[in-house]
Symmetry: C2
């Protein structure tokens, strides 16, 4: 449906937090989760923003997620933390893990948090951004439900395992990369199927592992990793860091959110943060980041109308505009959220 007028970020945050609290989440936890999801919307990543709240609550209702879970953080060394999400809402675990890794980095220069027992933690960009705002470089990743076959295989064994890498710029022009391991997201294939369109055959295969242009066949098959064996390799390494090292599930041990919503997924995440201030003074970092951006932006574009951009630049532009003018949220999403929050619109 056509979007209504933009919603101020604070209003959306309140509404999202109230929707979660109304379902039984402690208020402070609800605000942590809402912060991650509203940031996603601010960046223009609406597929991973507050629109996810009804989905999360559907899983809460069938016992798949524990909305009252207490996330516990165990500091095993000054720099390492193990986080047990206790099958709570993913962004709650992510938010605590970010704090735990930052704590280690603050103390000894670099810190890591490994999360087990978690669920879908939203997109990586909000965590990268919160880390960058405080001057931390970050590497953050999660495993996920299996949708990708190993290179040369024809059964889904790996998730789309999002990987995020961020570098803070004192000016606020942080460089933030958030990539999933497939060429295209499943949501794009579902959209093609719904619209009756064909799709590029680099996106996915049918059940026999043959590349296909038919979205319906692709939805029964599996996604292809970006860059072939290189994307496959990255997906494996993310699962080893986020799943195996954290003590969470990995590969086919992760149950499907959509097919088995009542079962705990046991996803794993990894957060590694570096305190840049320990490596150089802020004005030096500011100069280096400005110089870096200047060189990249100064590249002759292949298309004169499309200047070269750094990773995350588009999302930061959306962020600034929507923080000022309000967030453009789909009317249906807003209505459903309002209903969940007890605010009839």
């Amino acid at each position: 449906m056509i979007a209504a007028r933009p919603t101020p970020a604070d209003d959306l945050l309140d509404m999202a937090a109230r929707a979660l609290a109304a379902a039984g989440m402690p208020e402070e936890d609800a605000r942590r989760v809402a912060d991650v999801l509203v940031l996603a919307d601010l960046f223009g990543i609406h597929t991973h923003g507050v629109a996810r709240i009804p989905e999360y609550l559907d899983r809460v209702r069938v016992g798949g997620i524990d909305i009252t879970a207490k996330v516990t953080v165990e500091r095993v060394t000054p720099a390492l933390a193990r986080v047990d999400a206790a099958n709570g809402v993913g962004p709650l675990a992510g938010s605590h893990a970010l704090d735990a890794a930052r704590c280690g980095a603050n103390e000894v220069g670099i810190g890591a948090a490994f999360v087990r027992g978690s669920n879908h933690f939203g997109p990586v960009m909000p965590y990268l951004f919160r880390a960058a705002e405080r001057g931390f470089a970050a590497i953050i990743a999660s495993n996920a439900t299996t949708t990708i076959a190993p290179w040369g295989g024809r059964q889904a064994r790996l998730g789309n395992n999002p990987l995020g890498i961020g570098m803070p710029a004192p000016s606020g022009d942080h460089v933030l990369l958030d990539v999933a391991m497939s060429v295209a997201a499943r949501a794009k294939i579902r959209a093609a199927a719904a619209a009756g369109n064909s799709m590029p055959e680099t996106w996915a295969t049918d059940t026999d592992g043959r590349p296909t242009r038919d979205p319906a066949a692709a939805l029964n098959g599996f996604l292809l990793p970006f860059g072939g064996h290189k994307g496959y390799g990255l997906s494996v390494m993310v699962d080893l860091f986020a799943g195996v090292l954290s003590g969470a599930g990995y590969l086919t041990h992760i149950s499907s959110w959509s097919e088995d919503p009542g079962r705990a997924q046991d996803l794993g995440h990894v957060f590694i943060l570096v305190d840049v201030a320990k490596l150089m003074p802020q004005h030096v970092m500011a100069d280096r980041m400005a110089d870096f951006a200047g060189i990249v932006h100064g590249t002759s574009p292949a298309d004169p109308g499309a200047p070269v951009r750094l990773p995350g630049e588009l999302e930061l532009t959306h962020y600034r505009r929507q923080l000022r003018d309000g967030i453009t949220i789909d009317d249906d999403v807003l209505a459903r959220l309002g209903w969940l929050a007890g605010v009839r619109r």
Copy 2:
């Protein structure tokens, strides 16, 4: 030329170390460098093995690399080290940085070393392997001479920036990923040009940024990143971690090895190591890694004759075979190395 009979690894190590020492490198430093390069040959990565020694020494001769450089390691926090390679031979800096990051990880669970003033440090796989042998997971990367254009640009601004990620298996079946950021290496394009072959148009562009099948045009143009904007993004993030954070050169500040061999390159590297023993007992890690490998290997292959492999599996197979039977080295490379070492063959 046809290779002679295989060379025992210890003999190749001696010969490589003597070749470096004969050019003026302190003996202990020469053995560190030889260890990295011979490991590359053991893994079957001959393009990055001892064949590089004559190239390194050519640059030493014209003043581009200082073979007597003292690498200095400054521990800035318990977990962070800054390494100044002082324009020494790359693998010497890499070897010291690996030790420095391991030291931090040993003490507080995770450690990082940032290297500046360096040169080509060889492939990433040997460092990942040495880390894994001692039970450390690793993320290691370097920037490089510019050969890739930013996504949507038509001037080379980024290097092929190798990224390695490794996970130790107590059984010895470590999982080791070593990827460069281009679809294909420049060496492959040079080989196609020399053989008079055309190449896939996904590999590179001509000088105007148009994809080309002509290797000669590609050598004047630039390499395409794997996975399009995703590979571009990864290349940017590697340069930010390895170049900007380390205090080294980055992007176009890095001079070309081939075009300006007498000038210091000021490459940067990053080494991040995690001590797995701090996260779980060894037998638990052994079980999890064996289970992980079992699931991946159990995937139905698309081609029944080509079972699914994990990253680094092929290289570890080469390693074990060549460690036992000797390394197959090109006769010309061996002769040149012997001559440099003062051992006429």
